[in-house]
Subunit: 369 residues, 2 copies
């Protein structure tokens, strides 16, 4: 029987992730597997930790890729920092803020949520008012809301959170590698990301970083972390120190790919990468504007890498996306929740963030519509 | 700067996993990424579920690869089935039985453990006596104890567990694809495995299957599964049914690799694969026997794919393993816990299970010792 995988067609991935993958990363993926305690693999692990610190702009000792996708990173940060009854504030303006609330609730935290209209950013004045009312153990927000294309004012919120004395948790799944993410400067205590967005590595790992202050909280928990697989206390014995103790078998080849993907980003230079995303974002607005498309999010709050494009009247959401995929091998994303059928989510992330991607999409849309 | 990953050397992986990977699997790993909701990727997901059912000898509807390594599979099964206060019996004769107890305890189950000497199998008479004393919600055992090389009598234990009325949980991380694992015939209610042992796929996914009886227990929980990432109720909406709802972004390329690895196993035929493992196991005992090595585990309880070899007096554990790796690019595993320094763990799993692997190891050992 012919292998299905041999029949996979190259696709321009312009949805909300995964993004298209550069050749160096595919090549690293298929490099020979090593043992998870092989000294050479440990050298690669150490290199990845350094690369991640550089991309995240942090000196945090605890900086590593978790062996799961972005959602596992979210769960890692919350399950390690939360104990039952802890007071948690989640700022919600899309699917992923909602997911943080759900996870924190399952962990039996005392969760408050401030909700903002989808497609608009978190309002710092509301956050300030809420933080004046109550002391929290932690405050969590999504930097780049992948469900709406909104950038939240993470730096400003950080200042308010620290005045409150809370730990500051940021979801950088979609932002990391596509716009500034300044962990130390912004006072972020725990941050997680994914590999399949602006890092342009296939999904499978979740980079996480934890400040010394948050690490102390984890070390001094009253109860053990209820999730063994994601317990950072245990993981540190594998990812840190002179002797590396077996915890779980790290996804060897996925780590090769992450190493190669981070190298691509750092070789180009972070500032250049951010600039490229911003420029291609402007180019996308321009090209789609010529076709009559408008943006959901107001200028100033738009993410460069994830563009919420309003579907014009008379344009069939699913039919057009289906034709883009089947006839042009271009994937774009549909809306989620209340925005389903109303927007497309067009990703220009990492390797996808090139003018030629935008041209292919605009040309295809012109043909179809 | 030269890429570290480009400097990885091909290594014969004869440790406790990962095992060496066949070319078809490397090639699948580096196939073009698709979106996680692309209809063609969903076709691959469906194919993987069918392949897994075949390899596991089950018709269970809920059969899928979890997006984490084997330990995530262990956590999946336990976190979905256990609610606080549930009575759980864990049978322990090595590291991985101990890990099940640890996870169940963190989930606030009421955990009893029957412990057996490392290097010997679980005694069914003791299990029978314990089950006569107390009614359990679930009983858990490791099929192939990777830490000791012991095969536990999973089929016999299954009968006792069902007389008790408990759910039967089996760890098949190391056994699946290397010896018979008969989920339906043996009355197993939940089983998990890993990709990096006898399936010869790099680590990163954990195949899991759940019986209809166990699925009912999961559907009718009083409390939500405390682990969002591993919640099978949510995952089923992504892996099953006509419309696939986004849960997390599946590790696309790892799934390609698993598909290819399962195809290699099924193309050879399960019976042939088991026979090959058994034959190479005998050949290993013979070749190492000529060099004066003996086995830790008594005949009859030995695993074919994971061989606990007693380190003879005068042979330096770490020095010899280091020379095997550095001079011969052969990895074997050391002992864990009380067996550290006393045994080597020699894996002949999947693609590694060939006489030429054994010859390379025996020839290298002859040179070194």
């Amino acid at each position: 029987m012919k292998s299905l995988v041999d029949q996979v067609q190259e696709t321009l991935l312009m949805g909300p992730g995964p993004s298209s993958v550069p050749p160096e990363v595919y090549s690293a993926l298929s490099q020979y597997s090593l043992g998870h305690l092989d000294p050479f693999f440990i050298q690669i692990m150490d290199a990845i930790k350094s690369q991640l610190r550089e991309v995240m702009n942090t000196t945090n000792q605890i900086t590593l890729p978790m062996s799961g996708t972005g959602s596992a990173g979210m769960e890692t940060v919350l399950v390690n920092l939360i104990e039952p009854g802890d007071s948690v504030l989640v700022l919600i303006n899309g699917v992923f803020g909602g997911r943080m609330k759900e996870i924190a609730t399952r962990l039996r935290a005392d969760v408050d949520a401030l909700e903002f209209e989808w497609g608009t950013p978190v309002k710092t004045a509301d956050v300030k008012a809420q933080l004046a009312k109550k002391k929290y153990k932690l405050v969590a927000v999504v930097h780049a809301e992948t469900s709406t294309g909104v950038a939240n004012p993470v730096e400003e919120i950080g200042k308010l959170v620290h005045e409150n004395g809370a730990l500051y948790i940021v979801d950088a799944v979609t932002s990391l590698g596509g716009m500034p993410v300044m962990v130390d400067d912004w006072g972020i205590d725990a941050l997680y990301s994914g590999t399949q967005k602006c890092l342009s590595c296939p999904p499978g790992l979740s980079p996480v970083t934890v400040s010394e202050r948050a690490a102390d909280v984890i070390r001094n928990r009253e109860s053990k972390v209820p999730n063994w697989y994601l317990d950072l206390n245990l993981l540190m014995n594998y990812w840190e120190g002179a002797t590396r103790a077996y915890h779980h078998t790290a996804p060897i080849n996925m780590n090769y790919a992450l190493y190669a993907a981070l190298k691509v980003v750092l070789d180009e230079g972070l500032a250049n990468v951010w600039k490229r995303h911003a420029e291609v974002h402007q180019y996308l607005i321009e090209r789609l504007g010529e076709l009559g498309f408008t943006m959901l999010v107001e200028e100033g709050a738009r993410l460069p890498m994830l563009n919420a494009v309003v579907i014009p009247d008379g344009v069939e959401d699913k039919a057009v996306r289906g034709r883009l995929l089947n006839e042009h091998r271009i994937e774009i994303g549909g809306g989620l929740g209340a925005l389903a059928g109303k927007i497309w989510r067009v990703g220009i992330m990492g390797h996808t963030a090139r003018k030629e991607s935008v041209d292919r999409l605009a040309d295809a849309l012109k043909q179809i519509i």
